[in-house]
């Protein structure tokens, strides 16, 4: 796979139309082959989307910072040793200093170390909950769209019904009974966030299933299961990948809300929401280090995922438009 030598927007445009709108490769190749030169590989749709994404500088910066923050949260504790299990009542609410870079909280936990631990929970829940949601949503949407007719209507009405139930309220109610571990909270969140991906995938499948390659596969006797996992899901992937970033942002935000209201992870685990909820009591005492660093991390992560998601959507949309 060779990169095209010029990356000017003109050539990108040509590449896009050549790769995506021409049914057979022959015309695109002949147009792109320089006289007597070697044949260049045609950029795939994914490659184009990637390049479009890379041209959005803000989103790339956000993605890089997110990766750094993930490393900070998961690898940071290896270098910055703190005790996040046993409370230390002699060191409560200390302001930032050399030994505690961001001070300590009301239980004597080092705040910087706690942000790392809370961040781990945020990323784990974000990843796991969105994974659950996307798996359920993709399968449900693909089946609903492919089967169509009465079953489709029934399945989608069920989605309508679940979408009408206020998300945070029902999640809170369930969390009072089950909350505790990252896995449990992720499952609760995932079970109520697969609805939007299901709708999106169904919409994609409805247009895909009339396309020639799907008809061809059907004619050749593909089973429905094969049709779904071999043809429909891979082609609807672009929509789901964009949605995953938004799902991660929403899950992290929901985890924070659960934590603030005291229905989040059980100690010794903690999340950024738990920390903010506890810090509320100390705002009046002026313990700013308990509020702003963790709040800023939370806002940044959600913001960054949203921006990355927007950029991805733009990139994929371009690909879809050119198709």
């Amino acid at each position: 796979m060779t990169e095209p030598r010029k990356t000017g927007s003109q050539e990108l445009e040509e590449l896009g139309t050549a790769a995506l709108s021409v049914p057979g490769p022959s015309r695109g190749l002949s147009e792109l082959t320089p006289d007597g030169g070697e044949v260049q590989a045609i950029a795939s749709g994914w490659r184009l989307a990637l390049r479009e994404f890379a041209s959005n500088r803000l989103a790339v910066i956000c993605l890089a910072l997110l990766l750094l923050l993930v490393l900070f949260c998961f690898l940071g504790p290896l270098f910055y040793h703190t005790d996040q299990t046993y409370t230390n009542i002699l060191n409560t609410n200390l302001p930032p200093s050399g030994s505690h870079l961001l001070g300590t909280d009301e239980n004597g936990f080092d705040e910087l170390g706690r942000i790392m631990v809370g961040g781990q929970a945020a990323f784990e829940v974000g990843g796991f909950a969105s994974g659950v949601a996307i798996v359920i949503g993709t399968l449900y949407g693909a089946i609903s769209g492919l089967v169509g007719g009465f079953v489709d209507g029934l399945l989608m009405r069920f989605v309508d019904i679940l979408l009408s139930i206020p998300f945070l309220l029902i999640v809170l109610v369930i969390a009072t009974k089950y909350s505790g571990t990252v896995v449990e909270i992720s499952l609760i969140l995932g079970v109520f966030t697969w609805l939007v991906p299901a709708r999106l995938v169904r919409g994609e499948v409805l247009t895909l299933r009339t396309r020639d390659f799907v008809l061809a596969a059907q004619t050749m006797g593909s089973s429905r299961a094969r049709l779904i996992y071999r043809h429909l899901i891979p082609n609807a992937m672009s929509v789901t990948i964009v949605n995953v970033t938004f799902l991660i942002a929403d899950s992290i935000l929901s985890l924070a809300y659960l934590g603030v209201l005291g229905e989040g992870l059980t100690p010794p685990h903690t999340s950024w929401g738990d920390m903010l909820g506890n810090a509320q009591t100390y705002v009046q005492n002026g313990y700013w280090w308990l509020v702003y660093p963790v709040g800023a991390c939370l806002v940044f992560v959600v913001l960054a995922f949203n921006l990355v998601g927007d950029a991805l959507r733009d990139a994929v949309d371009v690909r879809l438009q050119r198709r």
Partner: protein, 316 residues
């Protein structure tokens, strides 16, 4: 049009029935009977059985569901055994204060977001537009709770303009209205969160409309820019706001919950929060249901309103 309304109403009723069934099923799965909450966790099995029999919790789930549904139609939301009051009476007490908080926040957010979105579209890609977009994006990603804490720090503790929380003296919606200083921070916090999403939509909607021929025509016939914007653009660009307001009901309910908790303002959200701690499932079920029904109604009204307001929307 009439056919459309009837069809839409029938779907809404079906969805409401479905929502009731699903919510009822989930909450009954979590807590089949409030007996232990009433009699204490150490209650004997015999006592629980007889309590269940006395209060109808020994009947099959499906019978319980239909009797709940029957009560619901008569606006009977069940009984809170923790607070020894009917849920309807508790709601009745708090609904005014919560409605005032949500309503005022909604109105305030529209007052800010609609002109802001239009201004951003008119002066698109200017430094001001970028700044507003950046602020909107940050607000959009900010948990209401954190925003509330920042505003408390700034306006209550540092500048001392507003009180930290809502005082206990506010017991009716009317008192809440007549004590604007106390309610200012909660309303502004809730409103700012909606401004973020509203103005984003307003901006893109106004951008779409600005490119339309009728705007060019209005300018070409020599109308002042103000007349173009206020008489022609505003009306057309505001149409998506109708849908947005209809869709913002779940956000408002969740926002109410956190804002009422943070500012200690007794409303439905705080009632719900306390019920979470008390495991008072009848209140929880009723509030989830009210929220879901409001959501369905909000969508329905928004769809009908947009069909009335926009002759281009064709109903078939």
């Amino acid at each position: 049009m009439l056919g459309y309304i009837v069809r839409r109403l029938i779907t809404a009723v079906i969805v409401v029935l479905g929502v009731t069934a699903v919510s009822f099923a989930i909450l009954h799965f979590l807590s089949p009977t409030p007996a232990y909450a009433v009699l204490g966790t150490k209650a004997t099995h015999a006592a629980v059985v007889s309590w269940n029999k006395q209060h109808g919790y020994d009947r099959p789930e499906i019978v319980q569901f239909f009797s709940y549904l029957g009560n619901l139609v008569q606006l009977n939301f069940g009984y809170s055994y923790k607070l020894n009051q009917s849920v309807a009476a508790l709601f009745n007490e708090d609904v005014g204060r919560s409605a005032y908080l949500s309503g005022a926040a909604l109105v305030l957010s529209l007052i800010i977001a609609v002109p802001l979105g239009i201004a951003q579209a008119v002066k698109r890609n200017s430094p001001g537009d970028y700044a507003a977009t950046a602020i909107n994006f940050t607000l959009y990603s900010m948990p209401s709770f954190f925003l509330g804490l920042i505003l408390i720090q700034l306006f209550a503790l540092d500048l001392n303009i507003f009180p930290v929380g809502v005082g206990d003296n506010i017991t009716t919606a009317w008192q809440a209205i007549t004590h604007p200083r106390q309610l200012c921070l909660p309303i502004v916090t809730l409103a700012l969160l909606n401004v973020a999403s509203f103005s984003r939509y307003m901006r893109s909607s106004a951008l779409d409309e600005l490119a339309q021929d009728y705007i060019r025509l209005a300018r070409a016939k020599g109308l002042s820019e103000r007349a173009v914007l206020f008489r022609h653009l505003l009306r057309n660009a505001s149409l998506p706001v109708i849908t947005l307001v209809g869709l913002s009901i779940p956000t408002l309910l969740a926002g109410n919950l956190l804002i009422e908790y943070l500012f200690n303002y007794s409303g439905l959200g705080l009632l719900f929060y306390n019920a979470l701690g008390n495991e008072d499932y009848n209140i929880l079920l009723a509030y989830v249901l009210v929220g879901a029904i409001l959501t369905v109604l909000g969508n329905l009204i928004a769809d009908l309103a947009i069909a009335t307001a926009d002759p281009r929307v064709r109903l078939d």
